[in-house]
């Protein structure tokens, strides 16, 4: 078992972002998300409610996961279906019985992809606004899919200027007085905080949330757990209700992403329609994202001579690329350790206001 505490604190020169700007830019522009495959990570493969006696099938980078519950309720995540007579040879990611490490937390079944002996509960990301033992009502949960590679989906998420254009009809357009973006990171996470002053009110809050004003103050946080490809999307709106979304992007294959989301709207009054409508917005919003990430994806499959152009608003996206590449490089060198703890409570980092 891997012990996070035992790892030496990262030294300054280890920070892939604190390098000279030219090196940083070179990394940003060598971005080939299709070639990145990170292991030794927990992936939220299914909502807890979806797993019962009958095996369900999931995948991470095309590795099959068959997940079911034994009569005593305990979980099995196997590489082959119990009925499969022609099971292929066992991968390095499962134990003698062909089982992956599996764990249940926050209302999800998490499967480990990586060396089984390294699977440790402390590598499960912290999600402050999901109850640890699950139990959110079904209307707050759902599945959407993207036909693009998972890092592109996350890069999409961490640059929220996109929302002003492709989701304007749901979350409001780009009209506002001021926008600031701050970015924090460690070796396993990146956190972006976007503050908007006097931004057009999100139509969904006008229509269903009872917000009467024309502008609102917005603070949105996106925090990505790099290895798990899972993100927290936390928004504070005033006037308006806070939005508490868990947004995992499981790389089922290198070019297909599964998102079993949880939008915890229990902070919203039971009489407010927003509580029931906001989680459903994912169906619309995800198609809007897909309209861009789907055609983008093949354009990031092969090395490309021309560099992407960047603006100061892309700081988070650029750092995301560099941090992902740094992890991939470390793993290529055989270093799978977690230098930073992903499970310690991140409430302060995301500015979570407990209801």
């Amino acid at each position: 078992m891997l012990d996070v505490q035992d790892n030496p604190a990262p030294e300054v020169h280890d920070d892939p972002i604190a390098v000279d700007p030219r090196q940083f830019a070179a990394k940003v522009n060598s971005w080939l998300p299709h070639d990145i495959m990170l292991t030794d990570a927990w992936f939220p493969l299914a909502h807890s409610f979806a797993v019962a006696k009958k095996p369900i099938r999931r995948a991470v980078y095309s590795h099959p996961y068959f997940i079911w519950r034994k009569p005593d309720g305990s979980l099995v995540a196997a590489e082959t279906h119990p009925n499969d007579q022609l099971a292929a040879k066992k991968s390095e990611y499962t134990d003698e019985a062909g089982h992956y490490p599996v764990i249940e937390k926050y209302g999800y079944v998490w499967g480990w992809l990586g060396k089984p002996e390294n699977a440790a509960p402390e590598h499960i990301p912290s999600i402050p606004y999901l109850p640890e033992d699950g139990g959110l009502p079904l209307h707050m949960l759902g599945t959407v899919r993207f036909d693009c590679c998972a890092p592109l989906s996350l890069e999409n998420l961490i640059d929220l200027t996109h929302a002003d254009f492709i989701h304007a009809d749901v979350v409001g357009d780009e009209k506002m007085d001021k926008e600031t973006v701050e970015v924090f990171h460690d070796s396993e996470t990146i956190t972006m905080v976007r503050t908007c002053v006097n931004k057009s009110v999100a139509p969904i809050m006008k229509i269903f949330g009872g917000v009467r004003d024309d502008v609102q103050q917005v603070r949105q946080v996106i925090r990505i757990y790099l290895r798990s490809h899972a993100a927290i999307a936390y928004g504070r709106f005033s006037p308006g209700d806070n939005v508490q979304l868990f947004h995992p992007c499981v790389p089922e294959t290198r070019d297909r992403t599964r998102l079993d989301y949880a939008m915890n709207t229990s902070n919203v009054k039971k009489t407010n329609l927003f509580r029931y409508m906001m989680p459903k917005a994912s169906y619309k919003v995800s198609r809007q994202d897909s309209s861009m990430t789907s055609p983008q994806s093949p354009r990031y499959m092969r090395p490309e001579k021309r560099k992407d152009l960047h603006s100061p608003l892309d700081e988070a996206g650029q750092k995301y690329r560099v941090l992902m590449l740094a992890l991939a490089e470390r793993q290529a060198r055989g270093d799978f350790t977690y230098r930073d703890n992903v499970s310690s409570d991140c409430s302060d980092i995301i500015g979570y206001e407990k209801a």
Partner: protein
């Protein structure tokens, strides 16, 4: 070679100031739109920010195109980035901040694009051809043109006209084009083509050796043009060919069948090609096409011939 060619990638009526339009030239995606002066603009259909297709964006009131993903906004003529709305600043962007522009030329109801942004405009064309259409065919450019040479009935139809297998001239070069003439019959009762002494009509096909842009002329036996059309096949992604065409019937057509061409739809380019028929289509006129093409193109890139110099 394709870098210097002018490709008729759209009909004028297909391009508006309301919505960007996507076409391909081979594997090169292109976005087209009309700016605030109604001038057609063409950029690579790829935003240099995060590679999203610009054709999914919108056209602003000032005629610029705005990417639908993060709102980067480009000038149509130069491709230069002119705005990132969320930056809320008026500062100018460095010259490398641009989408790749292409040269555009519009006349005779066609929008032509040249991948070389600095290309000189093509010769003006003042033909007015009121009929028009677009067909997207799952057959590659070279084979589509070969089918047109070997048996036009596989790729198009002219109302009341039956194409015979008999050629008046085989494929040869005339003024830089690949030209052939095919004997045709009216689709009325008559002796089968193999037993026919004289044919009442013929179809002249004159094709540009590079783009495959083709002038079709249907002539009667007194050398009067009954019908003319311009076909513009353009290679697209995955071996598909986009065929735009414009056509006109000549006034004063005398033969009964020629008169009847004016009723209904006189011309069609097919969206589908019969694979079974195509597979067994005997290569005939097309056999010399590639040699002829090559000799024309190499000569064009060299010094002009006496004939060209005189023209």
């Amino acid at each position: 070679m394709t870098e210097a060619a002018w490709w008729a990638v759209a009909r004028s009526e297909e391009i508006s100031a309301d919505k960007p339009h996507n076409v391909d030239i081979g594997d090169q995606p292109v976005v087209l739109w009309r700016d605030d002066k109604k001038v057609v603009r063409a950029l690579e259909d790829r935003c240099p920010h995060r590679r999203a297709p610009l054709s999914l964006g919108c056209i602003l009131g000032n005629g610029a195109i705005q990417c639908g993903y993060h709102g980067w906004t480009y000038d149509g003529a130069s491709g230069q980035l002119i705005d990132i709305p969320n930056l809320k600043s008026d500062r100018k962007f460095p010259p490398v901040y641009k989408a790749r522009p292409f040269a555009v030329h519009e006349d005779a109801g066609f929008v032509r694009v040249c991948l070389d942004a600095k290309a000189a405009a093509p010769a003006p064309d003042d033909r007015v051809l009121p009929l028009s259409g677009t067909s997207i065919v799952a057959l590659d450019h070279e084979h589509w043109i070969a089918a047109l040479f070997d048996d036009p009935s596989l790729v198009l139809s002219i109302k009341g006209v039956r194409f015979s297998p008999y050629l008046l001239t085989e494929l040869s070069e005339q003024q830089g084009k690949l030209v052939l003439e095919r004997s045709c019959q009216w689709a009325s009762p008559h002796w089968p083509a193999p037993f026919t002494s004289d044919f009442p009509i013929s179809l002249r096909i004159a094709t540009d050796p590079v783009t495959g842009e083709t002038d079709l002329t249907l002539l009667d036996d007194e050398f009067r043009a009954l019908f003319r059309a311009v076909l513009a096949p353009v290679p697209a992604a995955r071996g598909v060919t986009q065929v735009r065409w414009r056509a006109a019937l000549s006034p004063g057509r005398h033969h009964l069948m020629a008169k009847a061409m004016g009723i209904g739809t006189p011309f069609r380019v097919f969206d589908h090609v019969d694979g079974a028929a195509l597979r067994v289509l005997k290569p005939s006129a097309s056999i010399h096409a590639s040699d002829l093409r090559e000799s024309i193109v190499t000569r064009k890139s060299g010094p002009p011939t006496a004939q060209e110099a005189a023209a």
